[in-house]
Symmetry: C2
Subunit: 509 residues, 2 copies
């Protein structure tokens, strides 16, 4: 493709074709990864990982090719400027950044890493099911080792871990996170302690039933519909670790996990992933097929999933409207439960082992633990062999409880098996972005919570589409939050929100 076009077209036309080719490969690999995590036969995984490695390497080769370098140099010059659209200019900037980064990695090293992580995700699933930390350790050691080598090749600015953070939340450093997490700790730890000592603990007995999987699935589908998820541009499946994947604006898939003894896992998991999906489904169609079609950072992405999951999905108003619907599926289990009791029950604060099932308040402690461990791995050369021990000690210290096995401990998250070191802070950043955005939304949509209590979720979806979703990667995370709220990211909106919410729930004066 690119070879043929090279002879006749202008630089921008060739550049658009080359970046589109890379995006197309990414889309196809996205389908294959989705498939590997939703039911691909296990005997095919090793061979599939090789095939994935081959195409990923080709993407990598294209993104670091001499042709790419020449096109970027030509387009960075002033000559072509008249021809360029805003989208082109942003595309050039982002592609340049990735070009410079990728150029530092030897292609063979990259290929090995892709094959390794592609296979490791499947191995992780098994190791998690068997709580077999030792069995997964060889993979983990290799993945960490590759990341350490990548950091050395990319070059360290600030601390080594900063180099990883920059991939998920451009511009955010360890110093920023130390400050933000410090502020969160300063206000949230006392709040949690106050709740534990003086709070009026909600009743959660009604959540301890047996909840038929088919009924849970029906309610998940119903909720997605209410949130404005477009089923003609997506589908809901099951996987060990729930995820959302945006392959194009017309194909944004969600997975969830149904636990028969836990109603809330699939319920809030589905709403969470739907928040991601609404973002990807509502990017401006003019960005479709370009590398700018997608969320701008993991922090902003998580702001959308966690805003929908917690600030809407765990709000009082939401359950005024939707508890009667949920009762249609589970009449016996929820008999006599009123909206207020349900609301309090699903917002119980409790030290727990599993991040994705944690309450909004202690959730940030789960993230802090991962953040601290990742910093140790990359800034202090923590030995991977010690991960389980360090993990357990940190849970003991921060939450007062300890995993009884690796499946509910250090192996619980998929991220490390895919090499996603530096991702976890995005969740707490997301919580902070979300609280800050919500403050503005409440001002600009004066009937927001009345609407939600009446089952009108679409005005909020439209507001977020206008402010966040449609821009795709055209705006940086910092630009988004400043444009919406008039100021940079701050931790106190989240602290205020949590304080107000939980003081009321726990009846603290």
């Amino acid at each position: 493709m690119s070879e043929n076009a090279a002879t006749k077209d202008s630089a921008i036309v060739r550049f658009r074709a080359l970046t589109t080719q890379i995006k197309h490969y990414e889309e196809l690999l996205g389908v294959v990864y989705w498939d590997m995590r939703t039911g691909a036969p296990r005997k095919g995984i090793a061979q599939r990982s090789e095939a994935v490695g081959t195409l990923s390497s080709e993407m990598f080769r294209l993104s670091t090719s001499a042709e790419m370098g020449e096109l970027l140099d030509e387009l960075d010059g002033a000559g072509a400027d008249g021809e360029l659209t805003d989208v082109d200019r942003k595309l050039i900037k982002e592609t340049r950044k990735e070009y410079e980064r990728n150029l530092k990695i030897p292609p063979e090293l990259y290929r090995e890493y892709v094959v390794l992580t592609s296979q490791a995700e499947t191995e992780w699933e098994e190791a998690k099911a068997k709580s077999d930390f030792k069995g997964f350790l060889p993979y983990l050691k290799q993945i960490i080792d590759y990341n350490r080598r990548f950091i050395a090749l990319w070059g360290v600015k600030g601390t080594p871990y900063d180099t990883l953070l920059d991939m998920y939340e451009p511009g955010t450093t360890t110093a920023d996170l130390d400050r933000l997490f410090g502020e969160l700790r300063h206000r949230l730890v006392p709040l949690a302690a106050d709740i534990a000592q003086r709070g009026d603990k909600p009743d959660t007995a009604f959540l301890q039933g047996k909840f038929d999987k088919a009924a849970q699935k029906r309610f998940s589908l119903y909720t997605l519909g209410q949130m404005g998820y477009d089923f003609e541009a997506g589908r809901l499946d099951e996987s060990v670790h729930p995820f959302a994947t945006g392959l194009s604006t017309g194909d944004v898939r969600i997975t969830t996990r149904y636990l028969e003894d836990d109603l809330t896992s699939a319920l809030f998991g589905t709403i969470h992933e739907c928040g991601h999906a609404l973002y990807e489904q509502n990017v401006d169609p003019k960005l479709n097929g370009t590398p700018l079609c997608g969320g701008t950072s993991m922090g902003i992405h998580e702001s959308q999933s966690r805003l929908w999951e917690n600030m809407i999905g765990r709000s009082r108003g939401f359950w005024e409207r939707y508890l009667p619907e949920l009762k249609k599926e589970f009449p016996a289990q929820l008999e006599g439960i009123e909206a207020e009791a349900f609301y309090r029950g699903i917002n119980v604060v409790e030290p727990s082992l599993i991040r994705i099932e944690a309450d909004e308040l202690t959730y940030n402690l789960h993230i802090m633990i991962r953040y601290e461990i990742e910093k140790m791995l990359f800034n202090e050369d923590l030995e991977p062999e010690r991960l389980e021990e360090v993990w357990n000690a940190k849970y003991k210290e921060a939450l007062g409880i300890e995993p009884s096995n690796a499946g509910e401990g250090v192996l619980q998250d998929v991220h490390w098996s895919g090499g996603m070191f530096g991702y976890f802070p995005s969740y707490s950043l997301g919580n902070m972005y979300a609280a800050q955005m919500l403050k503005t939304a409440e001002r600009e949509l004066p009937t927001l919570f009345e609407d939600i209590a009446a089952g009108r979720l679409l005005p909020l979806k439209e507001w977020l589409t206008e402010k966040v979703y449609r821009h795709g990667k055209m705006l940086e995370p910092g630009e988004i939050i400043e444009r919406i709220t008039g100021e940079p990211l701050r931790s106190d909106y989240l602290c205020d929100y949590l304080e107000e919410k939980y003081k009321a729930i726990y009846r603290l004066g």
Copy 2:
């Protein structure tokens, strides 16, 4: 990949790497095609088709690249011969053939065609559901037009249609098929007439019930297990048009279609696709990852699906063993039905509209109709606008019945929407290959039908693995049938088999 390797490695090493790269791309595209036909969201199809077009074009570019030409020339010389394995030699031969063919197609034309057919399969599904021939006609016209242009570019040997046939059954010509179909017509049309006039028609009332989909699915899964389908190397899904796809020996997927008012559709559809899957799962692992990993021709492939579906799955012995199992799922519907009655009922001969639900005898007439229409399209320039009219007239003439709409007529098959003109004859070739192979199997496995009646299906699977499956594309179709049976393909084994079977069922002296 190939670029880097080019500098240091020998020709055969570079050749293996390049053909593996192409095979890897084919495997990834296989996953994407499977996904498109088992539930990909419709709003993503147009964009996905572009992405598929991009990667298919790249495969095409690699297979016709100057590097490929140079490697083939170098390897065709005698110098490298000492290094070459048998697999290498066959790989060189097959790659050369495809290279010569692909070199004649302009890459842009190829890309357009891939995007068109990829999108057309989804459009076909809708058009079929709505019986909208006119709506699908624009796609069909373009696909036919592309095929006519391809034939002109490849060059006509014999007749234009021969050029298409050669892709699915190398070496088979229109002249061969005219002869073979002529022989089939000569013996099978009188047999069908005799059955209609004098036969003792089996009772089929018990097949007209309502059959729960979940129960059908359970029985499909059970049957796959009995046949030795490896579920760790495959999965069963649903699609509008059932298919099997071999992505690697470790990932061979099947789809089926459950009709609540028709027990036999999923039952025999599943066995049919499992026949294809056993072939692909049992190719010698040493061929895995090479382009030789897969069935050698569509005729041999269909011989396996149709041997299992009809000669085993519709045999008397099979139902002696498995009717009691089927009754566990459908006790009311099958109450009082004995194996003999069931066997006769599922083998009723009846002119019908839908090929994939036709009995073994009239099935070949369905194929003849398609063969004749395809010949008209490519050898006599039939206008695509006339396809529905010609289709209906041929059904009227050959089977005495006429479709009431395009969904049960000209739009019933997926093949043409994917551009697969020249494929249909493979089904009847498959029937002939299968009958000829079975004759040898009965001699070499003297307890074959006793085994089947006792539920021991694996000896046959192992015999076929030894004789057919393990060879992959290492042997030509003609070599396979000659090695097994000692003679080339003949029509009379099929005619003998059908005569014997149906005279007994219809109690004709």
